[in-house]
């Protein structure tokens, strides 16, 4: 009896490496759907909460200093003023006033000077 359940019960097994050892096993949905990690890029302004863009204070090509107003994002009945986290040039604006944004959307990209 050296046959595993992969063959016995005709279960589709895959491989999982742990500490250099390859295990035969099945993977669950959560594991297969996990998102690859990426480093947070400070110059990319991402919506941390879904909501509506009420105001955009900047235009493409404009120079901004750290702390300058960028956008007002209304979410959960709150007006969230989003400020520039660094000094640079507005490289691109990915949305318009009045637009609804979902969580995790790239809103503004700032180029380094």
């Amino acid at each position: 009896m050296e046959k595993s359940d992969c063959e016995d019960k005709k279960i589709r097994c895959k491989s999982l490496f742990i500490d250099g050892t390859k295990y035969r096993t099945t993977l669950n949905k959560k594991y297969e759907k996990r998102k690859p990690w990426s480093k947070l890029e400070k110059n990319k302004i991402i919506s941390v909460i879904p909501g509506t863009i009420l105001k955009i204070y900047v235009t493409e090509g404009q120079c901004v200093k750290k702390g300058d107003n960028l956008i007002v994002l209304e979410a959960m009945k709150m007006l969230n003023l989003i400020k520039s986290p660094l000094e640079g040039i507005i490289k691109s604006i990915k949305l318009k006033e009045g637009e609804k944004v979902s969580k995790g959307k790239l809103m503004i990209e700032i180029g380094y000077t």
Binding site: S4, I11, G51
Partner: protein, 514 residues
């Protein structure tokens, strides 16, 4: 008025009240594929055993023309009954009456039966089918929820609390089930969420159906909020009855003893586990090979399936089982599996149910997502739960028990009472490949043929450490046993642990890593 007429009057009043929201509303409920609240409590309890109270309760609301509305029983049924002879307290929200909405008197009925359950020390079963707070009753409705949550918490660990979701259960209402011990859901009928699809669409602009947001499958597979998934209400009630047969009525009692039975012969314990620790198998087959009648009642089968939890009987007594599942994610510990097992262990401990742990795991699941999801904090729950548990704890190490996983899975060091290991057990600080790569790094790197050297060193390490005897030499393992001896030794261990008593330091309560 003569007695006869007065009795007749009672009959008339009863008849009216028992109709709930009336024929039309009942028709609607049936059209949705749902049983009525009264049908539910009656089919859940032993025949003729359900007795209803507060049938004639009426609401007191005056605003918004509520004074002109009659809501029979204020939209909820409460009562007592028996399930397989076990006394239980029940409430069932009646969706036919104002959508089962929760007003002040509705809540007062629920808290009345909850107080009763706690006082009488019997299980509480709540059937949820409600549109939520009765908006017309304003803050009184919120007060009602709060009173229910408080009692859920007070009763936690004293009496078993079971929630059955047979309709919508939305907003604040979800927190009563969340505070209870077991949540039962039925496919296409149960819906649970804090904010519904409507709010999500208007606020966030995202489209999702109720089913995809908080249907029975979602809570059984993704969130882990539900413990039992059924395809129909009838199947759900059978599951509840079976659970009631396994658990004690309260925390001062033991579960009822059943007629002892031998496991079924088709589960041959020595033929389930492959010798190669990298090959999978279904650990539930091992459980079935040791429990009475091979009857294993699994909890949260669809969520975090890399660990298996549930009840079985040995010599007629209820035992809680926790087992790594090599068939899913190689049986690793991760955020969800630690959460799942830790809560179950605490339940067993609160209700005097001995715990048998079957160990076969390569360790913790590596990954950035796991680390960032707080596997440190969640993993710690498992250590906490095993360490604080004072019920008899028996551990069988089937194959791999590496590193932190070995410690966490009811090891001697967390005060397991009996630790048995099969000859196939590998109790080591890590898997042979990983260990050899670290210990013999220099030799491997400097070798003419590093691959050959690595293989040789892995074999060397395996021969010396990948066995149960190093741990047995320190007494960390009490006995190395043949697979066939497992049931016999476990039965003996349970027998001699019957009067186990442990003294813990005095404290108000511990601070588990919630």
């Amino acid at each position: 008025m003569g007695l006869k007429r007065k009795i007749l009057e009672l009959h008339k009043k009863r008849e009216k009240a028992l109709k709930g929201g009336g024929d039309k509303a009942i028709e609607k409920q049936t059209a949705m594929g749902k049983m009525t609240a009264r049908e539910r409590v009656i089919s859940l309890c032993d025949p003729d055993s359900f007795h209803e109270y507060d049938l004639f309760v009426e609401h007191e609301a005056r605003d918004f023309d509520m004074d002109k509305k009659i809501l029979h029983g204020d939209g909820v049924i409460i009562g007592t009954g028996t399930i397989y002879g076990a006394p239980v307290c029940l409430f069932a929200q009646d969706f036919t009456v104002a959508g089962g909405s929760l007003g002040m008197m509705h809540a007062r009925k629920i808290t009345k039966i909850m107080d009763h359950a706690l006082k009488m020390k019997v299980p509480l079963i709540g059937i949820n089918d409600s549109g939520g707070a009765r908006i017309q009753e304003g803050v009184n409705s919120l007060a009602g929820y709060g009173e229910i949550f408080f009692r859920n918490t007070l009763s936690s660990g004293v009496i078993p609390q079971i929630s059955v979701i047979l309709g919508p259960c939305a907003g604040g209402a979800v927190y009563s089930p969340a505070l209870t011990d077991y949540v039962f859901v039925v496919d296409k009928i149960s819906k649970m969420f804090i904010t519904g699809p409507e709010v999500i669409r208007t606020v966030l602009g995202e489209e999702i159906s109720m089913e995809d947001l908080g249907g029975a499958r979602v809570h059984s597979e993704i969130t882990g909020n539900a413990h039992f998934f059924a395809k129909s209400e009838a199947e759900c009630f059978e599951q509840i009855k079976k659970l009631i047969s396994f658990i004690p009525w309260n925390n001062t009692k033991k579960a009822r003893k059943f007629e002892p039975k031998e496991p079924k012969p088709e589960y041959k314990i020595s033929e389930i586990v492959p010798g190669d620790p990298r090959q999978p198998y279904d650990v539930r087959d091992v459980i079935k090979a040791v429990v009475d009648d091979s009857d294993f009642f699994e909890i949260q089968e669809l969520w975090a399936a890399n660990i298996v939890i549930g009840y079985g009987r040995m010599n007629g007594d209820t035992i809680g089982f926790v087992a790594n599942q090599p068939l899913v994610l190689a049986g690793v510990l991760d955020v969800d599996s630690s959460d799942k097992a830790a809560r179950f262990i605490r339940y067993c401990n609160a209700f005097n149910i001995p715990i048998i742990t079957l160990v076969d795991l390569p360790g913790y699941l590596p990954g950035i997502d796991q680390e960032h999801a707080g596997v440190i904090r969640h993993g710690a729950k498992l250590l906490y739960a095993y360490s604080e548990a004072t019920v008899p704890k028996m551990t069988v190490i089937l194959r791999k028990a590496y590193g932190g996983g070995y410690i966490a899975m009811s090891s001697r060091h967390l005060r397991a009472d009996f630790v048995f290991a099969w000859p196939t057990a590998e109790i080591a600080v890590m898997g042979p490949e990983g260990a050899a790569n670290i210990i013999f790094r220099k030799e491997i790197m400097e070798a003419e043929d590093p691959d050959k050297m690595r293989k040789q060193k892995v074999k060397e390490y395996k021969d010396k450490f990948a066995n149960p005897y190093v741990a047995a030499a320190r007494g960390y393992v009490d006995s190395v046993i043949e697979p066939e001896e497992t049931r016999k030794l476990l039965l003996h261990a349970i027998e001699v642990s019957d009067n186990k008593s442990v003294f813990l330091p005095q404290k108000k309560h511990g601070i588990p890593p919630f």
